[in-house]
Symmetry: D2
Subunit: 411 residues, 4 copies
Amino acid sequence: MSTLKDPGLASLGHDKMNWVRRKMPVLNALRDRYVKEQPFKGQRIAISLHLEAKTAVLAELLHIGGASVSITSSNPLSTQDDVAAALATTGVEVHAFRGANDEEFDQFHQHVLDIEPTLLIDDGGELTERLHSSRKDLARNVLGGAEETTTGVTRLRALAGEHRLLYPMIAVNDADMKHLFDNQYGTGQSTWDGIMRTTNLLIAGTTVVVAGYGWCGRGVADRARGLGARVIVTEVNPVRANEALMDGHQVMTMDQAAPYGDFFVTVTGNRDVIRPEHFVKMKDGAVLANAGHFDVEVDVKGLRAMATEVIPGRNENVEGFVLPTKQTLWLLAQGRLVNLAAGDGHPVEIMDLTFGLQALSLEYLLNHPLEPGVYPVDPAVDRWVAEIRLKALGIEIDTLTPDQEQYMASW
Amino acid sequence: MSTLKDPGLASLGHDKMNWVRRKMPVLNALRDRYVKEQPFKGQRIAISLHLEAKTAVLAELLHIGGASVSITSSNPLSTQDDVAAALATTGVEVHAFRGANDEEFDQFHQHVLDIEPTLLIDDGGELTERLHSSRKDLARNVLGGAEETTTGVTRLRALAGEHRLLYPMIAVNDADMKHLFDNQYGTGQSTWDGIMRTTNLLIAGTTVVVAGYGWCGRGVADRARGLGARVIVTEVNPVRANEALMDGHQVMTMDQAAPYGDFFVTVTGNRDVIRPEHFVKMKDGAVLANAGHFDVEVDVKGLRAMATEVIPGRNENVEGFVLPTKQTLWLLAQGRLVNLAAGDGHPVEIMDLTFGLQALSLEYLLNHPLEPGVYPVDPAVDRWVAEIRLKALGIEIDTLTPDQEQYMASW
Amino acid sequence: MSTLKDPGLASLGHDKMNWVRRKMPVLNALRDRYVKEQPFKGQRIAISLHLEAKTAVLAELLHIGGASVSITSSNPLSTQDDVAAALATTGVEVHAFRGANDEEFDQFHQHVLDIEPTLLIDDGGELTERLHSSRKDLARNVLGGAEETTTGVTRLRALAGEHRLLYPMIAVNDADMKHLFDNQYGTGQSTWDGIMRTTNLLIAGTTVVVAGYGWCGRGVADRARGLGARVIVTEVNPVRANEALMDGHQVMTMDQAAPYGDFFVTVTGNRDVIRPEHFVKMKDGAVLANAGHFDVEVDVKGLRAMATEVIPGRNENVEGFVLPTKQTLWLLAQGRLVNLAAGDGHPVEIMDLTFGLQALSLEYLLNHPLEPGVYPVDPAVDRWVAEIRLKALGIEIDTLTPDQEQYMASW
Amino acid sequence: MSTLKDPGLASLGHDKMNWVRRKMPVLNALRDRYVKEQPFKGQRIAISLHLEAKTAVLAELLHIGGASVSITSSNPLSTQDDVAAALATTGVEVHAFRGANDEEFDQFHQHVLDIEPTLLIDDGGELTERLHSSRKDLARNVLGGAEETTTGVTRLRALAGEHRLLYPMIAVNDADMKHLFDNQYGTGQSTWDGIMRTTNLLIAGTTVVVAGYGWCGRGVADRARGLGARVIVTEVNPVRANEALMDGHQVMTMDQAAPYGDFFVTVTGNRDVIRPEHFVKMKDGAVLANAGHFDVEVDVKGLRAMATEVIPGRNENVEGFVLPTKQTLWLLAQGRLVNLAAGDGHPVEIMDLTFGLQALSLEYLLNHPLEPGVYPVDPAVDRWVAEIRLKALGIEIDTLTPDQEQYMASW
């Protein structure tokens, strides 16, 4: 029933799933409860997320909780075929393989929607887009869903703003236990993991230019410094520029920074942040990487157009562009998310938090019927995830004494 | 007309004012405009703030902008008499001296209100309290005011919640350019400046226990690490506890942390955060300091009550308490704000941002008549302060291209 | 003439060599000179080093400088077959393939010695050992050589101490531009690169136990902190223990540290640093990695013996050992150097420094005939490498004025 | 018998001595033994050191150990008169007051030598200079001494080089437990303590130029970064320049750095490191401080000569120099050691290490009669101090197992 590259890869996939399962205390705590309570009994859940081991454990968890689950990948390059094969053996329906073309990619999503979902987990709005166009008939079954990314949430808000959103969606991305951790510490580590393994270059003593000082940018900048680099931040927001400065980084325009960078990392959420006018000012050998959602932050088209020659790098994730001005710039992972396309994505423990919020948000929708609209994660859910993580780590924190509670309330 | 300790100290006070004026680009930019525009012409401004050089420059600025200004100190111990004397020579009315008793402290505030203010700058609600009780008749003149502290804002919100607030107040504390900088970087530096100059003790290699991981707590913890300490954070909020952990600190309860700390710094906004049950578990020689608003975070009364002996420290800002359990604990600045009571408060450049927000918020009130209530700082004001600071530092940032603006709006 | 796995892999190997060549300014500066001067004309150079792209560029350089060069790998697992194939096309003789057995490994070294070397580059003493036993007849041709590692230098000193060393050897390992950089920044980065890519685990918020606080240990500890971990150091030297403490780390015995560590990294140069008595005290899920020279720092045999079960990890570089005490410990890369066995070794720019010292030390031997013995690198060579690197980075430094020179000499 | 400013200040001085005594575990451990063993019985010890509380505790200790002790200050500005008065009540002879003129300063040293010393503790060679000129007759009594500073050691080596040194001197400065700690962590913290308390300026977000990257320079640079600054290092040594770079700092010439610095700190041991040609390129408001031994690192004479006006700063430790190029530069503490002249010198715990080495080195001289010459501290002494400090902190470290000892010796 599943669509897979090779069911024979399941054994490798199980190894990967076993590995991550051991480092996901939040999902494990939920599993213990779901086995007994079966909260999703009778529900049909459609999922579109990057399909690798951590995601597989989430899908399996919802199935264990009583749901019928059908899943595909939100990006044709992020599917790990061995994991997909392993997941398919657990009772979850899987439609995905790495390197699907556009038509196959769409077809997978259609198959997943064939389950006639009552609940959704979406990444960038792939499922919701189809439920509001070609599969509109299915929307009436949907009790609600949860969205993973900033991009998806922004899209949902636009839809809701035009009163066209057909069911309630919870903005998991905006929860404290998501963006403070996933965006900051997750992106920070996985970006540099990806860059180091791809290039074998030294970070200490180099100059790293980070475009954007939101939560992701802070994480990338902080880890760059932790690896011994000097950091230059570019921003369009003057408050954030001041923060970057106070954190000990230099702040300048991309135009000014271009000649100094050994590494450039874009994390802005915008397009064409590094453009031909900047490329020509860069040092020979500068490395360009993107850790923002889409592959438009570095103007790859512009770079390709102006290059007099394209030369191979150390491996398939590095490409050299020789400019008319003679220097060679090295683009990583074709300007796509360097941590996913040239690495393994966020660390396991980070996704445990994010996926805990996902599962609990679906449960919340079952227990709290909502009008169509975009909703924040219930603060109690955020807090519960935070508490479970502390507990798993054996960490205790203080509680307010009655006197202290009264003092705080007495103003 | 002013009430001063000694007008003869003015010369020293002018030296201090000259010094800080050179490092306040935001106030300087305002001065250039105020000289010409006289925005406060005809206004009468009452101020209650810690009266030292930075505050004096703010008061002078408003006077230069056309206002009649009368000022006192929001804390009887934070007045610097030389600065008060200098300020009184500039045309500002001053009522303050260091070490005023309770009656004098109240009388100073009454004198300041005698100006029949149209605008207020308040710290902790000292002026507003009186304008809502003994001086209620004067409230009708008040166009509005601005409040400096978290504590004051919380009080104002309570008053407004009971529909008793008689004029609009702007919560300067909540502006980005205030709490992100003043609370974090200001408190972080000045707390350790105060501790080091008071104790001459080594920070590197010690264990610092920071109670509270809000913006102030982060600043204190980050600087402690920057000075070579290992940091333990205590919290009551599990999300913040997770953040502290991810930032590389240890997290535990105060009860668990008590035996490890060489220095304890409280920044919670709550009371009795360190109590007798903790004192008895501490190491001989542990140092206790508070950097939160009030002197109740360390239970000083409890400490004093249980001590078998009180011994002198290195200077008047260190006191040793010998416990029945034999160890001696050293309390700094009697548990008051260690950065103000045993130091010079926040660095100049930080107060430039905060006071820029103050002046602009008063201007805003003149141009935008508001109903009674508590209002956020206008985002344009926040942004303007951020921009002026960057400009003063010679820092340029990027601006969105039309294509980028469209891209950001296109979801 | 070369012994290779597959000459057809040369193209991939050339890509790798091209990549690293661009980031090796010291070797590039030497190449420019060697092409003209041919300093090694008539020399025959035997090399035993980890055979990957950076090493290949060194071998090629010496060949370009006029020498006949024959090379093998100092470790049967560190050969990259594509690089070996590429190097063989440049005129260098290569005898190596990945996964050679003990007999093949020895045979490769014998082949390399068949060149009847006049100069040597050795790693751990593999060539020198054979030149002092089975190939003693060839030693009389040897003008001298250079040794790469601490281990090799220690062995050479023992040999020289017994007056048995037959030619002069230069201790490249001990040069400032080697151990300060290779050992500290090289090991620091490559160890964490290896651990992150192998495990996909989060470093931030974890506790890392670093055994040993020499130059390597400092690097590993500093980068761990830079990635957000709390660090515990174990040492046998009380001075170093004090340094670790002052650097903000905790210091304790391995016995005390065992229950706290999420990651353990050994960098001591000693054996059995982590033993069964420690294993049983560790947390379930703890990760064990070694970044010291040999695979004896973690007592792998002891671990294997006590395990009730061995389970697969996420990939072939992670193995799980289930203990009678129920917890599972994860061993990376079988306890071998995690940065080489599960990564790409040191960053390119680091090896540029080390290999620059190697080439220049061989040149030095040609120009300065020496008695048998162990010699430090000429300080002028150290300084020259430092200067070339600064120049390549476009960095200028100050020079003493005549007055300053006189002042420094005047005591 | 003592020469004091005011014996009535003794009470304040005792408070200070009590304070530091509690944080000096090494000296306390020695005191316990000295009380019983009286190792210095019959000895006469002359001391010239900065005379403040930490030094007083050392002098008292030697007296407790059986010696007659006479002490003066090695710098006329570093005497604390209250401490001098307190010390004089303990049986130690004191000749010092703050602000002594040149003649008085010399006279104090002559008085101290009148004790006819058998042992010396010297700082910068003040006693030795006189014992080799006007008081040559007393040299024959001297069993030996210990020297505190790099400067003094260099002088002694020059004297010994000319075969003119008349007794053995131990170079305490060169011990691991001295320069790794005192120079690095001591200077690092106390320099910024001094700068912050003197200026009340913000460090975060500024650019700090550190001249010199020896142990002192590293400490100053590292703490600057820990306080949120960006650091530029200037050096004359290319190896150190590379180290500074790898540590994440920028490296350039003073000429290039001049326009960027908000703070300049000299720690080179040389003269005229910042000169008129640099002053004219600096930003308006730049702050100049010295943390090297002598007040010649900043060319204060040159600065004074070129200034068109000298203006008062915030207090007596800040002086403004208006240049013909219009900017004002602020010089701290007249270019003298900013941590001593505008602060309290090194933290207590640091001096405990240094003074422990001093006392033990004198003991060593008693038990190991030596020829005239300059000697390193006995490694066993270094190790003992390291161990005592760990023990005082309750820290245990590992010891080698017999197998490990054998393994280390087996090459």
